[in-house]
């Protein structure tokens, strides 16, 4: 994940989130304030995270238990987190929540400290989310919640079932779907599917490989209607009939329009894992580990999942959700999602500009 645009929390993927994101985009790196110092009986804890990424009830419960009121500052893009931690203004945070793709960059610049595994119960977490290639051995990160890249579509409009990314691009060129397609703004999620079709790995792709997708993708761009954030209303009204989305956003659309279908296309697709990490400059380690253990406890993980619409990382979570949860499978990426076919994008300074250049070219070509 390189842009939060493509994966806002399900409860407010609509206009409200765009407001917040744009606000941050405009105010940008400059305004994302300094850590606010929280002073309380139990000490202080400074968290730098995505907006509205913890349930307020759970935060209140933590304060009641520990006497610490966490001071939460927010960012809207991993790039901003990176720029901030990489500058003197980034000192003083005790917990940050980078996405999987940025952990090696942050750790490589010594901006994160190795976790003390004796202070965290990793055994309770879902093993399929641990020891993944973006952070072997979970040296720096603990999974917080996760999502997959998939496609939500109207089978009547696209004239059939979508199983692979090739099907996605073929369907998009058909008259029923052309001009009614939503792509994400994340360069990796635009270029990635084109690389996977030709059997390439998005983390090993060379600049030439990435540039090689440009003609194909700019050719497809004329069918694209929007790169804006996912809007379930647009799928309900038929303004969009084929859209890249994460499972939580797609679930919102499926709840409104049961005719829609969801698929995580093959041969490969993305899993991103937003993860807790502790910056090197953290001052309040006791409070940080205490907070993490509280939020990794089973009942809080269930509450956080129901609040965010994204699955938390605890093992056996599905069985713990309340019985009246609608489309529970969709929270976990849909039935039959194959974790072995999911890969996490890892930001590489050598290729990041090439990805972005293709994305810009595609968005420009879509504008005619």
């Amino acid at each position: 994940m390189t842009r939060s645009m493509s994966r806002q929390k399900s409860r407010h993927f609509s206009r409200r989130s765009v407001l917040g994101l744009l606000g941050a985009g405009i105010a940008g790196t400059a305004l994302a304030g300094l850590p606010r110092r929280a002073a309380a009986a139990g000490g202080q804890l400074n968290i730098y995270s995505w907006p509205d990424y913890f349930s307020t009830d759970d935060l209140a419960a933590y304060t009641a238990k520990s006497g610490v009121t966490p001071a939460i500052t927010t960012y809207n893009a991993n790039e901003i987190l990176f720029a901030k931690l990489n500058s003197p203004a980034g000192a003083g945070f005790d917990i940050v929540v980078p996405s999987s793709g940025w952990i090696s960059q942050l750790a490589g610049k010594n901006l994160l400290q190795p976790l003390d595994h004796s202070r965290i119960d990793f055994g309770a977490l879902d093993p399929s989310l641990l020891n993944r290639d973006y952070d072997p051995g979970n040296k720096y990160s603990i999974p917080k919640d996760w999502g997959v890249l998939g496609v939500v579509y109207d089978p009547d409009a696209v004239g059939g079932e979508i199983k692979t990314w090739q099907d996605f691009f073929d369907a998009g060129a058909k008259p029923g779907a052309s001009g009614k397609i939503r792509l994400t703004k994340a360069p990796s999620e635009t270029v990635g599917p084109a690389l996977w079709i030709s059997g390439k790995d998005w983390n090993k792709a060379t600049v030439a490989d990435i540039q090689g997708t440009r003609d194909f993708l700019t050719g497809f761009a004329k069918h694209v209607k929007t790169f804006s954030s996912f809007d379930p209303q647009a799928l309900a009204s038929g303004a969009i009939v084929l859209a890249q989305a994460n499972q939580a956003a797609a679930r919102g659309a499926l709840l409104q329009n049961p005719k829609l279908k969801w698929v995580v296309p093959g041969p490969k697709s993305e899993i991103w894992v937003d993860s807790y990490a502790i910056p090197s400059s953290a001052q309040n380690l006791d409070q940080a580990y205490d907070f993490l253990n509280f939020f990794l406890s089973a009942d809080i993980q269930v509450k956080e999942t129901e609040y965010l619409g994204y699955p938390a990382a605890i093992a056996g979570l599905k069985g713990k959700l309340s019985a009246d949860t609608k489309l529970p499978d969709m929270i976990f990426g849909g039935s039959g999602v194959d974790f072995n076919a999911l890969t996490s994008y890892i930001v590489n300074p050598d290729t990041v500009a090439a990805y972005q250049d293709v994305q810009n070219a595609v968005q420009a070509a879509a504008g005619g």
Binding site: V18, L19, L22, P349, Q363, A364, A366, G368
Partner: protein, 296 residues
């Protein structure tokens, strides 16, 4: 200014008292400008000649960033942005002129109220105003129903995420700042001049073309300036109403700074935009010179 300085100098009493308070008064905004405008600008210029490291800058002196910013994709984005600002500003003026004319010359005692109505939406958040158009232009909206009812359109309305929606949003967002300067110049044109023109046999069209328009020139230039300059950096309206298609230079700069972490190229592009804005301002400033000449 020329009129003020000699008066200040004539009084010896003032000469002693003034410098400290003057210096202080001038010093506050100067310091503010230096810290929040000149210094960041200097950094931007400095960065634009450097070498980008991922999320950082290695100081240096190279024109490579400018070469990249002026070639291929970015040059096209730049031209696209110029066309966009020109078209948007022209549309704004077309819509603003008749409105300002009506308020200035026909609104009578409702003038103040009419001006207030124009300006009130401008005090609302820019984002809120633009986002409201998402609701109005989406499928199944009230506008769609109204257009269908009036037989001006049939079927679903698919305007959102198109260039048309972007220009609707742009004109709407910038209209108030185009109306105000036009209103000011049009209100200042003495009715006697119009009467004289009619007496001398000019048709209403000739009066407009050879009297009103030349006298309104400074207002036209000011309105063009106030709309075109911000449009050169416009980022919000194309994102919210245009589906983020057709990358404008503001978006391209932000993608260099944020996504690509290439501060050097982003800075070079920003410097080029500032130069372009400087040229536009200088050209239009020549036209606004006559603003003071219009008799009250």
């Amino acid at each position: 200014m020329r009129g003020v300085t000699p008066t200040a100098r004539t009084s010896a009493h003032q000469r002693i008292a003034v410098p400290t308070s003057d210096a202080l008064l001038a010093g506050i905004p100067a310091a503010w400008l230096f810290v929040f405008f000149v210094a960041p600008l200097a950094f931007t210029v400095f960065f634009s000649f450097g070498h980008s490291t991922f999320g950082g800058i290695a100081p240096g002196f190279t024109f490579d960033n400018y070469r990249a910013a002026l070639s291929g994709f970015y040059a096209q984005s730049f031209l696209r942005t110029l066309r966009f600002a020109f078209a948007g500003s022209a549309l704004c003026l077309l819509a603003a002129f008749p409105t300002a004319y009506f308020i200035a010359r026909h609104a009578g005692r409702w003038r103040a109220a009419a001006l207030a109505l124009v300006l009130v939406p401008y005090f609302t958040s820019f984002l809120i105003r633009v986002m409201s158009w998402q609701i109005l232009l989406a499928r199944g909206s009230a506008v769609e129903m109204l257009l269908n009812f009036l037989c001006l359109h049939s079927g679903p309305l698919d305007v959102l995420d198109t260039q048309t929606a972007v220009f609707i949003g742009i004109v709407y967002a910038y209209l108030p700042i185009a109306i105000v300067p036009l209103y000011v110049v049009l209100a200042r044109i003495p009715p006697t001049l119009v009467e004289a023109s009619r007496d001398l046999g000019a048709s209403p069209w000739q009066t407009f073309l050879f009297l009103m328009l030349p006298l309104a020139r400074p207002g036209v230039a000011t309105a063009a300036l106030l709309t075109a300059v911000p449009m050169l950096g416009e980022l919000v309206v194309p994102t919210l109403l245009g589906g983020d298609k057709g990358v404008l230079i503001g978006r391209a700069i932000s993608s260099q700074y944020i996504e690509s972490q290439n501060y050097a190229l982003g800075s070079a592009m920003a410097v080029l935009v500032m130069i372009a804005v400087g040229v536009v301002v200088a050209l239009l400033a020549r036209l606004t010179r006559g603003f003071m000449e219009v008799a009250p």
